[in-house]
Symmetry: C2
Subunit: 469 residues, 2 copies
């Protein structure tokens, strides 16, 4: 059989393919096998990228299996009868990837069911007074008014962000209870069963979600904000070398993915707002309090995006020719300053990222920012008319000048981000900086790396900056 398969699929015959694989290849069209192999590869990648996805899938299976026990055990079943399926339905609908989303949906569902069920019973009770013929009319009017009004309320942005699901469940329960009350005459029992089974489903989901490898969306937001800052930092650290095409053996061998990383920070607005909304539902966990200042993460995210827009502009200068028209020594001075500004802001951003990640204040951020400001000051001298030749086309220095201006913008952005992270640090009680790394504040680490030699303390412009990378 294996021989046959090989002769069929000469072009892709692998010597190590097992009997089963060979047999499958013989009867299933090649195209389908390729498709399946591709999907399996994609699935594997999804699992490796974030193993929590696999755990989540098992958790959902477990929660549904647990709740379906209602049907298997007679005493439980006899209490609820067919209504027990509401519990299964609730688990499928409510169980989300993160604790915040599950809690939000679960609470929305339980509260909305309580309210909708209560009002439904009320509507049924009112309708009873209008006689057997009037009842359906009254109920239909109620249903129409409630459905239309609540549907409109769902358009309010604040309601949509936090209570959209609850409003839908409210309409649902109100309609089910009031409408089926017309036939069943046991409205209250029905409303009661629905509330209890939904509460059971929600609790099962929540318990499984929180007790087995919980995924906290607040932590995801926290990490995402820090990761995006780090990506910007990595870009800026590498920017100088890339811009001046410094052929560094160590650098050219490594991949250039750091040049593209910042792009993921450009379109984070919606996902961050969504995460912050869900994070508000989460209880205290680990280093996060119940009222953790999630709003500041949104602010940091906005500032990060502003910075990413500048970096997007910077990156468009990477691939263009930069033939600057000034003499060698001035060119090298510019190169020094640019590399210094970008690498120092890059370091500052990376420090800020790690400050967020470790929830510990960083003392060296201000030094890095001061260094980049100092380097920006040194840019003034090479940009003097006197150093250029008479017939220089000023347009030739436009790209270099633009890069200078963008780098200065990036420094301003970094200062704003640092202020925001500082607010975050005080509101979320970050730890104090680790004093071991920092005997002489800030400078010791930089001196160690051999890049800055401060002469007269903090006055930036008087620094002599030599770059020894």
């Amino acid at each position: 059989m294996e021989v046959a398969s090989r002769s069929h699929n000469n072009e892709s015959a692998e010597p190590s393919s097992s009997h089963v694989l060979g047999w499958m290849k013989a009867i299933v069209p090649h195209r389908i096998i390729n498709k399946i192999a591709e999907k399996a590869k994609e699935a594997k990648k999804l699992g490796i990228d974030d193993p929590r996805r696999i755990i989540h899938s098992f958790k959902v299976g477990l929660a549904i299996t647990l709740v379906s026990l209602f049907y298997y055990f007679k005493p439980l079943y006899e209490g609820f009868g067919v209504s027990a399926m509401w519990a299964v339905l609730t688990v499928v609908v409510v169980f989300e990837f993160s604790v915040g989303a599950t809690l939000g949906k679960g609470l929305n569902r339980v509260c909305a069911t309580l309210l909708g069920g209560g009002l439904g019973v009320g509507a049924h009770w009112l309708a009873c007074y209008s006689g057997k013929n009037g009842e359906p009319v009254v109920i239909a009017v109620f249903v129409f008014i409630v459905a239309a009004t609540v549907t409109f309320v769902r358009f309010f942005p604040k309601m949509k962000a936090r209570y959209d699901y609850g409003l839908m469940v409210f309409i649902l329960t109100f309609c089910l209870v009031s409408v089926s009350g017309y036939r069943e005459d046991e409205v209250i029992r029905m409303a009661h069963e629905r509330v209890v089974t939904i509460a059971i489903g929600s609790c099962t989901s929540l318990l499984v979600c929180i007790l087995i490898c919980p995924v906290w969306i607040g932590e995801d937001l926290h990490n995402q904000v820090a990761d995006n800052l780090e990506k910007l930092g990595k870009f800026l650290e590498g920017f100088g070398g890339e811009y001046f095409k410094i052929s560094n053996d160590a650098q050219s061998n490594t991949d250039k993915s750091f040049l593209q990383g910042y792009k993921s920070a450009l379109n984070t607005k919606n996902s961050e707002e969504n995460m912050a909304n869900l994070a508000r539902w989460e209880p205290r966990h680990g280093r996060f309090k119940f009222r953790h200042p999630w709003k500041l993460y949104l602010k940091a995210g906005t500032l990060t995006r502003d910075c990413a827009y500048k970096i997007e502009a910077l990156s468009s200068h990477l691939n263009s020719e930069n033939s600057t028209p000034w003499p060698e020594e001035i060119q090298s001075k510019i190169q020094e300053s640019y590399t210094m500004i970008s690498s120092e802001t890059g370091k500052a951003l990376k420090e800020l990222a790690s400050a967020i990640k470790t929830m510990a204040r960083s003392s060296s951020v201000n030094t890095h920012i001061a260094n980049s400001n100092a380097a920006a000051e040194t840019l003034k001298s090479p940009f003097k008319i006197s150093v250029l030749e008479e017939d220089t086309d000023l347009l030739e220095i436009v790209p270099a000048a633009t890069v200078a201006s963008l780098l200065m913008d990036v420094v301003t952005c970094t200062e704003k981000i640092a202020a925001c992270v500082n607010d975050l640090a005080s509101q979320a009680n970050f730890n104090s900086p680790n004093n071991n790394n920092n005997m002489i504040p800030g400078n010791s680490r930089l001196l160690h790396r051999g890049s800055v030699q401060p002469i007269s303390g903090t006055e930036g412009p008087h620094h002599v900056i030599t770059i020894g990378e």
Copy 2:
């Protein structure tokens, strides 16, 4: 009574307040009245901003009332019994604002219910072979495997984008049918009822959604892409005047909202992708075919965002001082060129926007782009070293140079957008340009506005450009 209320609320007593209002003010705390008034104002604004929201609310009310007729009419009720509530539930869950979303959810729900119900019946049938004691175990194993696998499949980005809801309903139906089959012994009847009631609910939703003032999400996407282009165009048209603080009476009196409009184009990625996904479900309507090239709208959206990033950078130069160091006549030449480039690209973008909106090719776009390219060429002469004084600080021309470079980037972006809209025009069969406006291609309109006097055809650099605004 009115007197009493006035004495209570002296600070906000309105002479025209009615008796009822006055009476309400007397007994309800002031804070709550304010809150209600605020919400009512917000609701009014939501309704005025998009009256389709009000219509949608009524449509939902109508669809639910229609479907609840199942309960009121005995013959219908006797056919389905309690299962009829699945129809109500389906309407509440499936009815969305746009036809695309409703169709997507409805089809997902019906197909997933069919598949899940079928497989659930199959699982029940298999489990029957394992005896009364083995049955719950076999079913529990099936439920666990299906729930876990399908939950994992929901993580595939392509599945998530289009079939997320269907996958959830599949788990739901499979679990409900197979699990309740253990007790009910009428699995097939149950599966059949569920499929039929859900189909009825989905059809009711769809009919109401399509027949009464339908909202086509494809049209929304179409308009959003055009609107964003127009906003960028408006910014660029006004940029020259704002940058050089040209005090134009007509302009200074109008509001400056055009300077902020572009911001809404920065964060459109997610919403546009979502809209394009939903638009694919929509049938042929108006000028949109079933297989309308929605992907090109996404491409146009991406290019628009790229352009918006440049404009974001440009706008940061609006409020800074622009004291350029060159003589009066050169300064005025730069002013001419900048204003020309930005207003011509602005016009080009607005033409593109209206081309998309009216689905008719525009012939003047290329002329506008050629004009802005020509103006960019004229920028070369003022940026000569020789025109500056010896001790000029080159950093002083950095902002002006940056603006020049950004404007050139914007021209490049505009060219790309024009190419993309051109693709869209051929794939979506846009109408040919209206020849009446355009006897001499492109130039006649511009000449009419007294802004460009072409000398030698198309070679941009040789144009003499005078701005007569």
